[in-house]
């Protein structure tokens, strides 16, 4: 397939402090002991999309990520690493690497997507419709809203405010309207309604941050609209809005094609009106619109914005908050364990002390040791951790090289690498940043503990 894949892997995400750091950028954040980027790359490999550009923020991150990818995916994927400055947005990142893009179509995927939807399906949809942009939509996960923390569905309006309002045509193939917030009332252009007749407004779908673009269109939009920062908030809505009137776009259509259109347009005029009057059915609203009713010289251009809606049973979550991190870790070891790729090797069984129980949906990394009478439930323990006796870990993630003293109780918390928990520490809903030392006997609840930045 003539597809080039751009993985927007990011760098240090503020939402994920203190989990990420310079030493551990977001793409390498372990999900069930496996860097999150691995999930995307694995899916791409499965879909035979092997020509990749991984875009990361900052040179340091580029080195780290590059090292990891070349170690893991050598000979399997053809990966280029591109470093871009921080805070230039997704559109900015694409603009920065625009000159690397050569293929006819570009698949852009967020590096923090943990999903089992094959990217190949999106690419195929895109090709089938010859669309300018195709976006993947998935159902809002059952596990509750990602970004609204643990509040669940208490405030419905508020919860929905985080999602998109998406307008689809009756065949659910074309994207007619997209708005990223519903703080204000939704406004839908009548023009598109005229064209399509009926539009389904959905608020139960979310944009999964996987897009396929026609390269020429993407590059042109990025060139012309140099203020556009975000793919999701600027570029995509712009394309959707202008889909029936894309003068700015597609100027590169071959001259010959345009001329031939001119010739027929005057004949179209008559045919067009008689078609309307006869209430004849039109094959596609885009087709209807691309015919010019007044027979003037310029033929109107349209482009298609398509959607690929993942089936509701598929798993599709972005790791963009701590809550999401917890959810994904839980799901990946539980319901969605098929996501764990085979290269997520579990080393030699960790050493367990006597009367230590490890419940289901747990994962222990290689070389970890646990003392006596420990309990581990629905938790993930990384590699080479040293865990004392009488430790209880529930719904938690413990990364690599963590030392946990005797009698610690950890609930719903994330313990980053090289953390040391001294005896009888009690943590509930906490995040402990890398290298932090929690003194003996301390108790924390819903706090974020990290070393001061040097």
């Amino acid at each position: 397939m003539d597809f080039q894949v751009v993985v927007l892997a990011g760098g240090n995400s503020k939402n994920l402090t203190p989990l990420v750091s310079k030493e551990l950028p977001k793409p390498l954040l372990p999900v069930a002991n496996c860097p999150v980027l691995n999930y995307v790359l694995h899916q791409l490999e499965q879909s035979n999309l092997k020509d990749l550009i991984v875009v990361v923020e900052g040179e340091d991150t580029a080195l780290l990520v590059g090292a990891w990818i070349s170690g893991t995916f050598i000979d399997r994927l053809h990966v280029e690493i591109a470093a871009v400055p921080e805070d230039i947005g997704t559109a900015g990142a694409l603009r920065a690497i625009s000159h690397h893009l050569t293929a006819k179509d570009i698949l852009v995927v967020s590096g923090d997507l943990v999903s089992d939807v094959p990217p190949g399906a999106l690419a195929a949809t895109h090709r089938r419709h010859d669309a300018a942009v195709t976006t993947m939509l998935c159902s809002i996960p059952v596990s509750g809203p990602l970004e609204s923390g643990s509040s669940g569905g208490k405030d419905k309006a508020k919860k929905l405010g985080r999602y998109n309002i998406i307008g689809l045509d009756p065949s659910k193939q074309f994207l007619l309207h997209i708005a990223t917030e519903i703080e204000k009332d939704a406004r839908i252009s009548k023009r598109i309604l005229h064209a399509v007749g009926q539009m389904e407004m959905r608020s139960d779908l979310m944009d999964a941050h996987m897009y396929a673009f026609k390269r020429s269109v993407l590059q042109e939009v990025l060139d012309i609209k140099d203020t556009f920062q975000s793919l999701k908030e600027d570029v995509l809505p712009y394309l959707v809005r202008s889909q029936l009137k894309s003068e700015a776009l597609l100027n590169r259509t071959p001259q010959g094609e345009e001329n031939s259109n001119e010739k027929v347009s005057s004949q179209n005029n008559q045919a067009f009106i008689s078609r309307i009057l006869a209430n004849a059915s039109t094959p596609s609203f885009h087709g209807l619109y691309s015919e010019n009713p007044d027979g003037s010289s310029s033929t109107r251009k349209t482009h298609k914005c398509c959607v690929y809606i993942a089936s509701s049973s598929s798993y599709c979550v972005r790791l963009n908050s701590i809550q999401a991190f917890m959810d994904i870790n839980r799901d990946v070891t539980g319901d969605a364990d098929h996501l764990l790729s085979p290269n997520n090797i579990i080393g030699p069984s960790p050493k367990l002390g006597t009367k230590t129980t490890v419940g289901p949906n747990c994962r222990l990394g290689e070389g970890s040791e646990m003392g006596d009478k420990c309990q581990v439930k629905r938790s993930i323990i990384g590699r080479h951790c040293r865990i004392g006796s009488h430790v209880k870990a529930v719904n938690s993630v413990v990364m690599n090289h963590v030392t946990i003293g005797d009698g610690c109780i950890i609930q719903g918390s994330v313990i980053c690498s090289n953390v040391q928990l001294q005896e009888r520490v009690v943590l509930k809903d906490c995040q402990v940043g890398a290298g932090f030392v929690v003194t003996a006997g301390s108790e924390y609840k819903a706090e974020s503990l990290a070393k001061k930045e040097k």
Binding site: L160, T180, K190, E200, M201, R241
Partner: protein, 726 residues
């Protein structure tokens, strides 16, 4: 007419339990409360106008009967005598299982009034069908009724079911078919609940605004531009009482439906029922008259087609959709095209060509006449060589030889068109003069001819007034009789929209382009789109905020004016302070202002009065101000409850001194002192104001400096007090 009835009743009585409780009732509004069919409706009610030679109301009644309705209340207002007279003499008054009762009103001006009157009569005892007398349909009500009842059992708030029908999208097809404006609806695809309704499309607005809660409550909403409202509603009793509760509801759709959709307190819901294969449409204007006539001739409305409805009176359907009464006198050389109807006793001369037209009873049509797409009612005489294209010709009209009717012409009753005269396109011609004063309220149909008077007048016309008309005959050529109605200003461009003539091609193209231009404007103007939150650039965000501010500022200015007017009236008419307080409070509520704004506004009015009262020197001005403040201090105090409000007054005063009443600038400290003395302003407020101003620009501190002494004094006094306290 009874032929199809048996089948229908059998169908409905499948649910005997429901029927046993109460017979299905219907309200038929035999008055459309619009003026779209003028000038014809000045003389005859719309429901009695012939539609393919049968009065419209017959189609509606026949359908109601077949759909299982047992009791119909016909509400008539304009020309009610004619409607009642017609119904009494017709077969409808003597049907065994179908009673038609008329309800007469003389002063109803809207559907809302009609329903309120019916509510008072207390004749409706359950669910009913609400329909107007100009609706043609052949749908079966069974399923819609059942759905309505099932929903009612689950949710008592589901009070209405609207019948909608699929149509083609785009305003062009809606315009070209029924001549109606485009319609936007939002429907929940699962429950079929109607969530949004917009029929009077504002062309200036290129977008639809859906309330956010609406989307939050419904995970999926389908927006429709491809549905046609059939104006057939199944209503529960509550609908009538709702009209009574909301006495300002006039229009069924514009007020009632929208009112219910907007109102979330009562929680009433409207649902839709979509029909697919059956027919339903309402004759709203001349264009829909044309379209529906053609549909009837082409038998889309079967069994409600002329040959079935007229029963025994022999109308035969021939090839190519030609309907011909038995005793038509037809010249051998006449050429009859397809889809025509020719009524009883009509004579047609040599070489006359007729196509796509309806010709009523006892008409005389001469030789070499061309009739295309026209509707010719009864007793019309068309002399030789006339040409008619897309015209409506009412009873008793005479077209002298060689007259030409251009597309879209309406000739009302008994008009005479002179020889060789060409009636220009879209003209409306009547024996009655155009009502000189167009009623500003378009809702009023027949406003100037209530029941009976129309008839009366037309009778008179035949006798006494007719001679007068000859003077004006020049309007319609030699020997012509009638007035050509002038098109109202601005309406001229709109004539073609509702006309019986097909829309000219250039207009269609224009319509398309107009719409595109609208859109272009919309897309160019980033603000419009950004407001939807799609595009978040800095400048756009500011733009919309500014608008908001602008609005509130405007509000405030007009509020201030109102307060000032109130205050002046209070001063001049010696209104008691308590009453003035009440009035200002009422204003505050109606403008949705805070009491802070009231204090400022009252103080502003006081000072303005002081400035405007005659004075020669600053000291006189001060005295004026002091007098006014003393007299009305109570009024002012009642709006100054806390320190913020007092500070607001000081700020207001500062603003005045800078802008509107510069004379006060010199008196600033004195007035401040005065307000302090009268205990209108407390020292806390003044000191706080001084503190706040401390950090301001130099230019802002002018007045602070002027009143420095006073503030100094205040501070000292405070300290002293504190010391005393100690």
């Amino acid at each position: 007419m009874g032929a199809q009835k048996k089948g229908a009743t059998a169908r409905v009585s499948e649910d005997p339990e429901e029927l046993a409780r109460h017979p299905l009732q219907a309200i038929l509004l035999a008055d459309s409360f619009t003026t779209k069919f003028r000038p014809i409706t000045l003389e005859r009610p719309k429901v009695l106008l012939p539609l393919v030679n049968i009065p419209m109301i017959n189609y509606t009644l026949a359908w109601l009967e077949s759909a299982g309705v047992e009791e119909v209340f016909v509400f008539c207002c304009a020309h009610s005598k004619q409607v009642i007279g017609y119904l009494e003499s017709s077969e409808w008054s003597s049907q065994p299982n179908f009673s038609v009762t008329t309800i007469e009103s003389h002063n109803s001006i809207s559907a809302g009034d009609a329903l309120r009157l019916i509510y008072e009569r207390n004749v409706i005892h359950g669910d009913f069908v609400l329909i107007s007398g100009d609706t043609v349909s052949n749908m079966s009500l069974t399923q819609a009724l059942q759905e309505h009842k099932d929903r009612r059992k689950k949710d008592a708030n589901a009070i209405m079911t609207m019948v909608v029908k699929q149509s083609k999208p785009s305003p062009i097809t809606q315009q070209s078919r029924l001549g109606t404006d485009e319609l936007f609806m939002a429907i929940n695809p699962v429950t079929k609940q109607l969530l949004y309704y917009e029929d009077k499309a504002e062309y200036s607005k290129g977008f639809i605004s859906l309330d956010k809660t609406l989307i939050a409550d419904n995970p999926s909403v389908i927006l429709h531009n491809d549905k046609q409202d059939c104006y057939i509603d199944i209503c529960s009793q509550e609908v009538l009482s709702l009209f009574t509760d909301n006495f300002d509801y006039q229009h069924l759709r514009r007020h009632f439906v929208k009112g219910l959709l907007v109102d979330d307190i009562m929680g009433y819901k409207i649902f839709t029922h979509e029909i697919h294969s059956s027919y339903a449409a309402r004759i709203d204007n001349f264009r829909s008259y044309d379209t529906i006539s053609k549909d009837i001739i082409q038998r889309w409305t079967y069994p409600f087609v002329p040959d079935v409805l007229c029963g025994s009176s022999a109308i035969k359907v021939e090839r190519q959709g030609t309907y011909r009464a038995s005793d038509v006198t037809l010249s051998r050389s006449a050429q009859l095209g397809s889809f025509i109807f020719i009524g009883q006793g009509t004579k047609i001369g040599n070489d006359t060509k007729i196509s796509h037209s309806v010709i009523g009873e006892r008409c005389t049509i001469g030789s070499n006449v061309t009739i295309e797409g026209s509707y010719i009612w009864n007793n019309v005489t068309i002399e030789d060589g006339c040409q008619l294209r897309n015209a409506i010709v009412c009873d008793g009209v005479i077209l002298k030889s060689g007259a030409v009717l251009q597309p879209g012409v309406i000739l009302s009753f008994k008009v005479v068109v002179g020889q060789q005269f060409v009636v220009p396109a879209y003209s409306k011609v009547s024996l009655l003069q155009q009502p000189t004063q167009q009623d500003s309220d378009e809702e009023l149909e027949y406003a100037d001819s209530t029941s009976g008077t129309g008839e009366l007048r037309s009778d008179k016309l035949n006798g006494d007034i007719a001679p007068d008309l000859s003077e004006t005959a020049s309007e319609l050529g030699t020997g012509g009789v009638g007035y050509i109605w002038k098109v109202f200003e601005g309406a001229y461009d709109e004539e073609w929209r509702h006309s019986v003539a097909p829309i000219p091609t250039d207009k269609l193209v224009k319509l398309m382009l107009d719409r595109d231009e609208d859109e272009e404007l919309l897309t160019q103007d980033g603000n419009v789109i950004s407001a939807s939150g799609e595009l978040k650039t800095v400048s756009d965000g500011n733009g919309s905020e500014d608008d908001d501010n602008e609005d509130s500022r405007d509000d405030y200015v007009s509020f201030e004016k109102e307060v000032e007017a109130t205050f002046l009236r209070a001063v001049h008419e010696n209104v008691k302070v308590d009453l003035a307080v009440l009035e200002v409070n009422a204003l505050r509520l109606s403008y949705n202002m805070a009491s802070v704004d009231c204090g400022g506004a009252i103080f502003y009015s006081m000072m303005k009065l002081a400035v405007e009262s005659p004075h020669n020197s600053a000291s006189e001005l001060h005295r004026n101000a002091a007098d006014i403040v003393t007299t009305w201090q109570k009024l002012l105090k009642s709006f100054l409850h806390d320190i913020d409000e007092e500070i607001e007054v000081i700020l207001k005063f500062e603003e005045m001194c800078l802008e509107s009443a510069k004379e006060f600038a010199a008196l600033f400290p004195q007035i401040l002192h005065l307000l302090y003395d009268k205990e209108i302003l407390h020292e806390d407020a003044i000191l706080r104001w001084a503190d706040e101003k401390e950090g301001a620009d130099e230019s802002d501190k002018v007045f602070l400096k002027r009143s420095e002494k006073f503030i100094q004094w205040l501070r000292e006094a405070e300290e002293e007090e504190e010391e005393e306290d100690e």
